[in-house]
């Protein structure tokens, strides 16, 4: 039996981060914070061309330089094609990548790597490598990629899993529910909008970094800043052609990921260098390399067409997406799937739904997983179109959402038709407090008083905008996470989890779940995570899965351990060791609370004594268990997002005066951490909406590969942000919880786009909404 929410002792409390003390004192907890003697430093030679064949490559001068240990190129590395996407096996991304290839496909693609005694020597040796390229025609946009007779980005014959390589199509999706043609024909009002999103980057403050070394038993250890340690192990083993058992992956603290560290970029190279040289090897990307060569969000062009009846009820919904997946197909199919699957079920009143699209290769930087994972790109046109529809129908945009959004007890045909890269799973929504979210956020933002008022203050005009969202909680029937709990004789527990805390606080909240079930305070749970030798499997930190999927594993493991404790305790309580006379103990009535096992009549035994009994005294065994979380649903969190802005009609400058979000994430395991997830996602989303853009040169290079010119929000830019987590309980989730990590990033683009329209009557359909673009749109409207 689950405890009632009101009975929670540690869940629902803002417990301090279990790793917090080390972090605030600056302990050496991150990948590059340990020094190993004899470490090699690696620099990577990168392609200056968007598309070229390597005709020849001469590394002899570099190899001859004192201090150079090894130079890697396509000539002396495995030619296996694999995917860098750290996804479940078999990965739904094409195997189109070689460690070093004979063809380079974007500016920044890797050509060679030098390992040397220090970074300066490695850097100097890079310059001594002589490469002759044969430049090939490049495709530098979605449209060029899909033009007749376009150059083929992947013309090699050994890549697999590409939908149509000759036409540069990585993936193709087409799903239909009902009859959209008829749906539109029978609609009273139709709106259609097409929106484009830009190249943008995750910019974790810690760039990608890996330290590899040989353990005393000659096994390869990869200490790496990753979201997916178990996928790293599997993919590196495959790419290098060595057994999985030869590799141990350790994830120390990670300085932010947001999806970019769901990618196996450096581990294979570092591992190969260590295996060849037997020396520790460090690869740290510079900030510039992070921009040029790591991963980005998929830029997309997405068209949405809505048909509705006069009363506002949606009748037909069509979404067409075309996604630029850059030079390699990492996450190409699945991000595009999610553009539909994480957005369309929100408006399940539409019976006729069509989602189709493709992901295409270009010779541009390589997108991958990025918080929001396609949903961000889909919500922009969907929620813009809803705003337009509301205007056409003369219905308040808030009311239009209320009429159409999904509710508890309901389903959507999309759930079955469209999963992540394959068919989905039928699911009925068990928890949905979106209505309450809308109520609260509308009220706190002053929507009713402010919408449509266009209040002026000099050249500044005020506006308000809103949007609503859902995401998911893990990938149903694919994602699996496991947990092991073992008990110690002082009544503490080791919690061993494959789950990957990349700063989100998952170590802490998973510890809280264990503590709650085991009836102990959090400080009795010693959390250790993400070490492929020491912890059970987990897919890793992505798809908003950890709380729901890994949390379920922890809860199940804790329940098993609780049963074992009760077995031992009931015998102890009955045997008279602790009671003066024999007791009949009804084990079903024993409870664990406050570090004791208690009978209803007040007898108790401490957990420490229980473990000592099991460990040393009688029928000795290790109290402990392993359990897995595999979920058959992906309950969506929900969010309502409202913002008030002011736009300067002279300059196009935009100020966010107030931002309010209310979210339903089921039981809130740790309020401050959950709020932090929303606050961080909204901040990142505002940056994506307003300032962040990787600018590409006419030859495909990144023009602003630095934080000087790629502007993420700083402290001065953060508007007043009001985050409300509404009361909710997800019956399938651990102690009622579902996810919260990603959903917030979807909100700012449509919320701000709709607010801009409310203020100045201009619909912006291309992000970022820079002042220059806003002003140009305003001037175009006025002329």
């Amino acid at each position: 039996m689950d405890k009632q929410k009101t009975d929670f002792a540690t869940v629902g409390k803002s417990e301090l981060k279990v790793d917090g003390r080390g972090l605030v004192t600056g302990k050496p907890m991150f990948t590059a914070d340990i020094d190993l003697p004899g470490t090699l430093h690696v620099k990577i030679l990168r392609s200056p061309h968007a598309h070229a064949r390597i005709v020849s490559i001469d590394t002899s001068a570099a190899e001859a330089m004192p201090g150079v240990a090894l130079v890697l190129t396509h000539k002396n590395t495995p030619s296996t094609r694999y995917t860098t996407a750290g996804q479940g096996y078999p990965e739904p991304s094409p195997y189109d990548t070689r460690m070093f290839d004979t063809v380079v496909r974007f500016v920044g693609d890797r050509v060679a790597a030098v390992a040397a005694d220090n970074p300066e020597i490695a850097g100097a040796a890079l310059k001594a490598i002589v490469v002759t390229y044969e430049k090939l025609p490049a495709v530098l946009s979605i449209d060029e990629s899909q033009a007749e007779n376009a150059p083929v980005v992947h013309d090699e014959d050994d890549s697999t899993g590409i939908y149509d390589a000759k036409r540069n199509i990585v993936a193709n999706i087409d799903i239909l529910a009902g009859d959209v043609e008829r749906g539109f024909a029978e609609s009273d009002v139709i709106v259609e909008t097409t929106c484009e999103t830009q190249y943008a980057q995750h910019t974790p403050i810690e760039p990608h970094v890996v330290l590899s070394y040989l353990a005393p038993d000659d096994r390869l250890v990869l200490r790496t800043s990753t979201q997916v340690p178990f996928h790293v192990r599997r993919i590196v083993a495959y790419a290098l052609g060595i057994p999985v058992r030869q590799i141990r992956v350790i994830k120390p603290r990670v300085g932010g990921g947001f999806g970019t560290k769901q990618e196996i970029l450096l581990e294979g190279i570092a591992g190969l260098i260590t295996l060849r040289t037997r020396r520790p090897t460090l690869i740290e990307l510079t900030r510039e390399e992070e921009f040029v060569s790591s991963r980005t969000r998929h830029p997309m062009r997405v068209r949405v067409k809505l048909g509705a009846k006069k009363d506002g009820m949606l009748n037909a919904l069509e979404m067409e997406g075309i996604s630029n997946t850059g030079a390699y197909g990492s996450h190409g199919l699945t991000v595009l799937s999610n553009t539909g699957s994480k957005t369309l079920p929100l408006y399940n009143k539409a019976q006729n739904v069509h989602f189709y699209g493709k992901a295409v290769y270009t010779n541009l930087p390589v997108p991958g997983a990025y918080r929001g994972y396609g949903a961000t790109q889909g919500y922009f046109p969907l929620e813009t179109a809803m705003d337009e529809l509301a205007e056409k129908l003369n219905i308040d945009p808030v009311d239009l959402r209320r009429i159409n959004h999904i509710r508890a007890g309901e389903t959507s045909p999309i759930f079955v038709k469209l999963g992540e890269g394959r068919e989905g799973v039928e699911q009925i929504i068990d928890s949905c407090e979106l209505e309450k979210c809308i109520d609260i956020a509308a009220q706190r933002s002053g929507w009713a008083e402010k919408h449509g008022k266009k209040t002026r203050d000099g050249s500044w005009v005020h506006g308000v905008g809103m949007s609503v969202h859902m995401q998911g909680s893990g990938i149903p029937e694919i994602d699996m996470g496991a947990a092991t709990i073992k008990m110690n004789e002082d009544g503490s527990f080791n919690l061993l989890i494959g789950a990957t805390d990349l700063g989100t606080g998952s170590d802490t909240i998973l510890g809280q779940i264990a503590a709650e079930v085991l009836g102990v305070p959090l400080d009795k749970i010693i959390v250790y995570s993400s070490d492929t030798d020491m912890t059970p499997f987990d897919v890793g930190a992505y798809a908003s899965s950890t709380t729901y999927v890994s949390g379920t594993a922890v809860k199940r493991a804790a329940e098993k351990v609780r049963e074992q404790i009760i077995d031992v305790a009931s015998e102890m309580l009955a045997s008279g060791m602790l009671a003066s006379r024999m007791l009949q103990v009804d084990r079903s009535r024993l409870i664990i609370t406050d570090k004791q096992v208690r009978t209803p009549d007040g007898k108790s035994v401490t957990l420490a004594k229980v473990c000592q009994q099991a460990m040393y005294i009688k029928d000795q065994f290790q109290i402990g268990a392993t359990a897995s979380g595999l979920m058959h649903q992906s309950p969506p969190p929900f969010m309502a997002s409202f913002a008030e802005i002011a736009v300067d009609t002279e300059t196009g400058e935009l100020k966010i005066l107030n931002y309010v979000v209310a979210a339903d994430c089921g039981t809130v395991i740790n309020p401050k951490m959950a709020e932090g997830q929303v606050e961080g996602a909204i901040a990142n989303g505002i940056g994506y909406a307003l300032t962040e853009e990787m600018q590409l040169s006419p030859t495909g290079g990144v023009r602003n590969p630095n934080l000087f010119d790629y502007k993420i929000l700083g402290m001065l830019d953060m508007p007043p942000l009001d985050v409300v987590l509404v009361d909710s309980y997800e019956p399938t989730g651990p102690l009622g919880a579902k996810s919260i990590a990603e959903i917030g990033i979807n909100a700012p683009i449509p919320t701000l786009a709709n607010a801009i329209y409310d203020a100045i009557g201009v619909r912006l359909t291309k992000t970022p909404f820079t002042p220059e673009k806003i002003l140009a749109a305003l001037q175009a409207k006025n002329t």
Binding site: V24, G26, G505
Partner: protein, 157 residues
Amino acid sequence: MIDITLTINGEKRRFSVGAGETLLELLRREGYKSVKKGCESGDCGACTVVLNGRAVTSCIVFAAKADGGTVLTAEGLESGGVLHPIQKAFLEEGAVQCGYCTPGMEMATYDLLSHNPDPSAIEIKEALSGNLCRCTGYVKQVKAVKTAAKKIAGEAK
């Protein structure tokens, strides 16, 4: 190589540094790993230390320039196993997510609070404007600085 003397976290030490070596490079190679590398161009603030009483991005300060100076890093805030009020406040307010920017933020806070013991929200935002964080949205960090100021004022009483 140039010989320099630095007092780091109260300890006077001599180093031999390269003429072009930055303070960030020196501190990290000498084991002060709280000082983080995020951009090496003064744009992100992860490497912030307090040099001669003022917060600076150590990635764009030459180590030789700091000769004779005093440096405080996050390692030097904790004393005898007791967290500094700034560290405590960051921990308690939930201002730490991945923690990579945290030591730098703490050092910027240290400079702020030693010159302005009761800063307003805008003063906090200005003081920490050069410390980028990608996880938090800064809401809880502004709060943490306020809490730290209160804790320090409380201790002084």
